[in-house]
Symmetry: C2
Subunit: 597 residues, 2 copies
């Protein structure tokens, strides 16, 4: 089984759905051009397909191991990571000041998509480094930046987020890890953290842990959490690595999937000799954490897209190869490839439509991220920031929920073979499953959406986005091609249903936050369906023009319209129905004893 | 983690949703009474909870192994199976002629539900024996019945189905296993079969394989397949077991889940010494196979119900135990159990509503099975048989699809802990995944529904069932309680949408079977949502009466109404939208090259 980074699809969605060209127009990326994007993505595809993708199955069978206190990664990871650093892949979108290439973050996000398609357990380590770099750039002192950033931007050193403790999962107010000032600007750190992705490994020389902990006099709850830089190996003033810090991986979790990614229980200061420095202000650790986390949330959405793409490619290859049965009414002759059966095509188109819909949402989110920072005028930056904020929980939760669906359908396409580990389809399902959980479980994303994102600005961002969708729906609805017009009508109905839900939630929010939270997950699903349908419809509208301009690509452009229609008839219609769930009222509080009787 | 067979729920659904009391009224089960049912189900619960359920986690870690050509089952399986035989659990619903207890098959189906909740990998072996007994009762000669039935009814010997070959998965026309008559009434069998559940094991003294094979002069395709009884150990004329037959398990598959269930590659006649006898007529093997298979399909649906129940119970227990966060607006004080969070309750109610909906469909299917055989008058039997036929693919496919959903939500409720194997939630998700695949993948069930079941009688059975649902919807819609009336209105809308889909498919079928097949899966989903909503609404209508009659159970009956309403607002509304998917037309045939670009 090979994997092929879907460069053509990625570029189509960037350009025709996500509005990537707006980034060139900002002027903030002087080197950016279509040719450059094409070249970067071709090279990216080669690296992912040839170097990373072949590691995927081996990393599942022969995952990370803890040996004498040291984590050994899967065969080939160290070498592939070396090529990642050497190829400059880690530095793509970081500022040139720190050795980066100054390209749009959107391209780095596209790389996350491609890398996770190639091998999710390899790819997710790089996401953590990105988050840590952003946090240090945001809150670090000049000295901290000088000590850490260059090596982290290049990827020579990796980064982690150390948030979770056994008693504090989604609720960070319960964090107990301690940090005591020792008087020389350093802090002594002590405590345990769990679920630390790539908390230890052998692919890079140093690991820069960003650790949430409490100062001795810190207030209770989340207002008393500070963030610390705690390197695995101390860094001397000249930037060279020195002595080992008192940080250990003491256990690797045995997980359902993602065996190639070491998930560590980390012990800080077991021997009382763990030192770190404060990152940002005292007791403001959560603020920095959200800098890491917002970026990581989009990346996790893209992990979903990537693993879905791989599950799709595997299922598609199987469906072309595997022969079973005959066409309706045909009794004799050779068996036909199962791709010829309508129900198998339904499964594959479903996988593809969900994957591309999620890709559209995530890429648009990425473009909004860049515009929020690089658009020339303040109003455009503010508008983009509002869209970025709104889309982030949707990118994260909707894409990863769909990734679970896609990977499960991938198993189904394989029939009995899908349940056999050797086939490989099951691995994608097991790997994908984590993405809906970590970086804020999808229920948390839904609360973020109906809370800070929707109520935070009184619905302004949501309403603006829905208006934009309604306009696109009208445009598509007026198309001369009936299939595109059909998509437009479906999109208009779905946008109107989403508006109804939005109005209802804002009204309910005045009196009953419980009922708003009860509706959160259904609202996020509805929003995701509509947003994905919007970006697919934009692609279809563009494709309807391109089909006349570029005859050689006609089949490809037609396929984009067919996918958009497939999605519209299933997911935009589902979106219409979801208003009933969103407005169903408070969540019953049935006595648990009666629920299991 | 303990499991508790949900006896109260099972009885509620039997009596108030599935119409079990109609079986008493047939007079065909003279011993049947409420007291007997209560006693049987209590004992069943005890056996499942105390003997079987404790095996579940160990069977995942320490699954079946192939050692020197012999399959060793997980620790404790042999003993638990011994108690199963001794307790008479296998013989519950078989005729007294063969040592059975002559109770309704519905009670045996309830046992399948309970056993699979306790330990799916243990339970599924028993299902195969049931199917084999039915096939031999249906098609066996007197001698075959005498040789095999008594031991199989008691469970002392188990049975298997040997259908699948590497080149012939869902398409049995491609079967190549050979059967050559040797002149004394016996046949020499040679060939390999794959995916044979409990093809070998150490829990019983003999295994009676029912094997599909071709006679030398057999016509091509499915019209040339015969069925053979091939025992693992030959049975002498006096019924004692004799010499070993030339049947071997040569490989165990490494599966995503269900590690306790040996999935065997079986070699028949590797040494040219495998003998069997013909079961039924030459070349009519598929007919017998469907006798086994129809019964097995309902049982697989119930496997889905069982594993969903267990996933639900685990998640519910975790949600009561795990403390995280506080109520909206509350900033200080102790953290609350996550069950208190609206979104967590949403997940749990979703799990419970889907599980009970599926239980309703499967139990109603079981009652129809019994009535089709035992109702006193011919018309009633015919009507019940039509409903049984209609519901079977829905029981199988809808219940197992929902089981996948439920088990995945169960992982989600656990957050990060859900992804760690030690927690146990992941096992349910891995175990559940097979049920949508085997016994005819769910796509095959959908084709059965729109083909033989819908078109076979010109829509008569479907239309009759939908009318029945519409009547119940009117009844509920006229209820004095607003919540029940709300369910009734939702059900009426959904039934009307299902009628629209049904009419459209019957019309399309006149000209375009491809388009019918393209719609099959969405139609099955819609049908399942409506059927499950129907049985839940019936339960709610009954509960609304019972709540006044039995004050001590008021909370319980109220919970049934709340669940029905939860389901109606999500799944009956989804059913309304599904008509758009069902009527979306032919499935695009996009060039696969363009789908992965």
């Amino acid at each position: 089984m090979t994997f092929s980074t879907p460069v053509r699809d990625m570029r189509f969605i960037l350009e025709h759905a996500a509005g990537f060209s707006a980034l060139e127009r900002t002027g903030a990326f002087p080197e950016l051009s279509d040719d450059l994007v094409a070249a970067v993505m071709e090279e990216m595809g080669k690296y992912c397909d040839q170097v990373v993708a072949p590691l995927n199955e081996g990393s599942d069978r022969d995952g990370a191991r803890l040996e004498n206190g040291v984590v050994r990664t899967s065969p080939g990871f160290k070498e592939a990571y070396g090529q990642y650093v050497e190829g400059g892949w880690n530095s793509l979108a970081f500022p040139e000041d720190w050795g980066g290439q100054g390209l749009p973050a959107t391209l780095a996000n596209a790389l996350v998509d491609a890398l996770n398609g190639a091998c999710m357990s390899f790819a997710i380590g790089t996401t953590l480094t990105t988050g840590a770099v952003k946090a240090i750039m945001h809150a670090g002192t000049d000295e901290q930046k000088k000590l850490y950033l260059e090596k982290m931007v290049s990827g020579e050193w990796t980064g982690t987020m150390n948030l979770t403790e056994p008693q504090a999962g989604s609720d960070l107010s319960a964090i107990r890890t301690k940090a005591e000032p020792v008087g020389d600007g350093r802090y002594k750190i002590s405590g345990q953290k769990i679920f630390i992705t790539y908390g230890d490994h052998d692919i890079a020389d140093n690991i820069v842990h960003l650790v949430l902990a409490r100062l001795p006099d810190a207030p209770e709850g989340t207002a008393g959490i500070s963030m610390f830089i705690v390197p695995k190996v101390h860094v001397n003033e000249d930037g060279a690595i020195g002595a080992r810090n008192d940080v250990q991986c003491i256990k690797l979790e045995e997980k359902m999937g993602l065996h190639g990614s070491p998930t560590c229980v980390m012990a800080f200061g077991e021997n009382g000799e763990c030192y770190g420095t404060l990152l940002g202000e005292e007791n403001k650790g959560l603020k920095n954490m959200f800098v890491m986390m917002n970026s990581a949330r989009l990346d996790v959405g893209l992990q979903g897209v990537g693993v879905a793409e791989r599950a799709f490619q595997r299922a598609l290859a199987f469906a072309q190869d595997r022969r079973q049965g005959r066409a309706p009414g045909v009794k004799t002759g050779d068996m036909i490839p199962i791709y010829e059966h309508a129900d198998v095509r339904r499964m594959l188109l479903d996988m593809k439509a969900m994957t591309e819909g999620a890709r559209g949402v995530c890429y648009a989110n990425a473009v909004a991220y860049d515009l929020a920072r690089k658009a020339p005028d303040e109003a455009a930056r503010r508008e983009a920031a509002a869209l970025e904020g709104l889309l982030t929980p949707i990118s994260k939760a909707w894409s990863t929920d769909r990734a679970n669906d896609v990977a499960s359908i991938g198993v189904q396409v394989h029939g009995g073979m899908g349940y056999i580990e050797e086939t490989g389809a099951a691995q994608h399902m097991r790997d994908a499953r984590i993405a809906a959980i970590y970086e804020g479980a999808n229920g948390i994303q839904a609360m973020d959406l109906v809370g800070r994102k929707l109520q935070g600005d009184g619905g302004a961002a949501a309403n603006a986005f829905i208006s934009q969708i309604a306009k696109e729906a009208d445009l598509a609805g007026a198309a001369k091609r009936e299939d595109v017009a059909h998509c437009g009508r479906r999109l208009a109905e779905a946008a109107s249903a989403l508006q109804k839900s939005t109005d209802a939630l804002l009204e309910t929010a005045k009196s009953d936050q419980e009922a708003v939270l009860a509706a959160a997950a259904d609202y996020l699903k509805q929003f995701g369906n509509v947003a994905a349908g919007y970006y697919l419809t934009r692609g279809a509208v563009a494709a309807a023009l391109l089909v006349n301009e570029d005859a050689s690509g006609a089949g490809y452009y037609e396929s984009k319209i067919e996918l958009a229609k497939f999605f519209a008839d299933r997911y935009l219609t589902e979106a219409v129905a979801l208003t009933d769930a969103v407005t169903a009222g408070a969540m019953p509080r049935i006595d648990p004893e009666l629920l299991s009787a």
